[in-house]
Symmetry: C2
Subunit: 326 residues, 2 copies
């Protein structure tokens, strides 16, 4: 089996690659070959039990997507995107990569023809939804995004369903929750604090909390995100029906609940490393974000996420810190 | 004021042009100039109290949309589309005109810059919705189209809202009901019979009814469609908010109710010209169509449609038959 990962150099792409290397296969079938693609050269994984090729290119440029699918990969993970903040600042770049890039990829797959029909896993986002929201956003809530990024993802979902309906590929769109705890250096994204207040204190560093403790948000661990991708790549898609975009399960937690979970896992000493520094700009941005979902369809289709924030913290301890708290 | 109509040679485009010629203005402001565009040369209206220019071009080709907006029209009506059946058969053509064409138009407006911010009225369709449906489709029902045409229109709606949010133009998307009674020759479209069974008997001809009388559908007259366009072009858009696509009001009626209205207006003699000839193919297609809406938002925003089918028939009699029944 041949796997193509577009956007393989990002955090989720690297973790997905690690998982495939560890498993050596997908859905019980061995992987023969993986093509890892990104705008910058992804690093080749060590110890892979299959052949790996790394490719750097701008897949939104004419002809580039065709090159990526010419080898007829069986499964295509499309993770590449201009993130929300940048897509909002650079209107043209966001539309070029997130909308036109995705469309060009779908068109390149269609152009192969000759019975080629890969599984396409498209990463979407809860940014396809725009306030005002119900208490919990159900599977039939409408997509009225309030950002260009959310608009571009919502368009990708529509194309994914139509190209799937026409039989050009077998698409599954997964709307990821906010990934928490995000590894790496503190992130300046408006959502960064959700991870910062867990990751930094556990590592012995101070973290800034810019919002009140009653702010509620929707989380899943990086490990769950990879699990969603693997399940989307291997599941029986005949059970999905024509509505191919699925809100992934996650955990709705307030910042206060995050902090209490951190206290249970790391103790008062760790929690004391959180410094409150209210930031009205961030508060205002966060007010427009979804807080809670009822992701029934995805749950019934076998997607699984954490059910407590303690669990999310323990995943971070295991996967990033070798179990050690500073 | 300068008006641009893209898709001016179609039935709705011609009726909109007639209305503008009759009124001489829009929203209390005189029209100085109208540019009438279509893929075929639209006919110039007679007796217009303003200058008219007719243009034939494929607006989806590079540079063509830029030419259309170079004159900085104040109001742009975008009515051009590949219809549902053709978009389903010719995948590439549908996407080229309905999606890429609309996007190129929006991009051409954005490229003018320099404070240019026209009102853009985008005609969408109830085809953005896909079965299964609730008893009445509300304003917050999600858009999960089951045709390429519906997908392309749903994408257009998303782009319209985002370009409006970013201040590149002031967009209003209107989802038209099925237009009934459609004037002209009997139409081979699957929906044609809804109009045929009224228009043909009133004109003294036989019409074929391919479905049972309990089939329910959503209608508005051509006159109402033009009324929607004019209201969308002139209304106070600050009342709409960021969700710019609006389901237009209409009338939900069964075929049996259509026929009883025809009997009240035209008598038994006219109704006797309807011949029942069940067609399982058409029955199956019609099963997937929306039957009823709760178009509360548009109604509150001042859009008005017929409230009885008798009224829809009387509009046809007045506007197409000079009041005479054959």
């Amino acid at each position: 089996m041949h796997i193509l990962i577009i956007g393989a150099a990002g955090m989720v792409g690297r973790k997905l690659t690690q998982r495939l290397v560890r498993d050596g296969g997908l859905g019980g079938k061995p992987i023969d070959k993986a093509t890892l693609h990104d705008i910058v050269q992804p690093s080749a994984p060590e110890g892979a039990p299959f052949a790996t090729t790394t490719v750097a290119s701008d897949f939104s440029l004419p002809g580039e997507a065709a090159k990526l699918v010419a080898g007829r990969p069986d499964i295509i993970f499309h993770l590449a995107a201009i993130v929300s903040g940048e897509a909002e600042q650079d209107f043209e770049k966001g539309y070029r990569i997130n909308l036109d890039g995705a469309w060009k990829l779908f068109e390149a797959i269609r152009a192969v023809g000759d019975g080629y029909k890969p599984r396409v896993v498209f990463t979407s986002s809860i940014a396809v939804f725009g306030a005002p929201f119900p208490a919990a956003i159900g599977d039939e809530f409408f997509t009225t995004p309030l950002t260009s990024y959310g608009t571009q993802k919502a368009v990708g979902e529509l194309l994914l369903s139509d190209y799937t309906r026409k039989g050009f590929f077998d698409g599954v769109g997964i709307r990821l929750p906010t990934i928490c705890v995000r590894p790496g250096a503190p992130n300046k994204a408006a959502s960064g604090f959700f991870s910062n207040i867990i990751r930094e204190p556990l590592a012995g560093h101070e973290a800034v909390l810019p919002v009140p403790e009653d702010v509620r948000h929707w989380h899943a661990s990086p490990r769950s995100a990879v699990g969603f991708l693997v399940h989307a790549a291997t599941m029986d898609t005949s059970r999905i029906g024509p509505r191919r975009a699925l809100t992934m399960p996650g955990l709705s937690a307030t910042v206060g609940e995050q902090i209490e979970a951190l206290r249970r896992v790391g103790g008062d000493k760790v929690v004391a490393r959180i410094r409150r520094e209210p930031d009205t700009t961030i508060m205002k941005i966060v007010e427009g974000w979804p807080r809670n979902f009822d992701a029934r369809r995805a749950t019934e289709l076998g997607f699984v996420a954490e059910t407590t924030f303690d669990e999310i913290i323990r995943v971070h301890l295991e996967d990033e810190l070798g179990g050690k708290i500073a």
